[in-house]
Symmetry: C2
Amino acid sequence: MYTLVIYDITDDEIRLKVAEACKEVGLARIQKSAFIGLIDSQKRKNLKIKLKRILGSSKGNIQFFTICEADIANREIIGEEIEYEEEGIVFI
Amino acid sequence: MYTLVIYDITDDEIRLKVAEACKEVGLARIQKSAFIGLIDSQKRKNLKIKLKRILGSSKGNIQFFTICEADIANREIIGEEIEYEEEGIVFI
C-alpha cells in the first residue's frame, strides 16, 4: 500500500521540517508539497504523529492518502519532472 | 472511483486556469493545489486533455491519481481546513 502525503503549509521552517520527516521515513518527493512511497502501517502511523507534532497549532493542512497497487498503476503525469532544491533550502 | 489532481505550477495565470478546469468538471478543492472528486472516466479523460492543453509547454507538473472507495476511507487530515480565495483571485 502506497502512502501519499500532500500539504499546504505557509511557514517556511515548518514546511521544511515536514518535507524532511517525509524523506526520513522513506517517502519520495513527487512535487513541491507532495511525497509518496511504500511504507508499512507502523511507519505511516509514526509519520502522522510526527507531522502532527511539527505542525502543532500553526496554520496548515496535511493530508494522508493510502493508495493501492491497482490505483497507483493508473497514476498519470502531465508536464516535466520538476527538480527540487537540496535539503536545507526552503521550498517556496 | 475518486480522482485526485495535484499540481505544481509556477505561472499564476496557468495555475488559475488549471484550478478552474478542475472546478468546472466537478472536483472540490482540498488544498491550494489539490482537487478531488467522484467523476466518471470520460470526464477524467477530458480533464486530462484540457489540463495538458492549458499547461502546454510551460513549466509545471500535474499528477492524476485514481483512488478507490476503500482507500478514500483511510484519508486522514492534520490541521485546519484552509479557506481559499474566490475564483478569479490568483492563488499564491
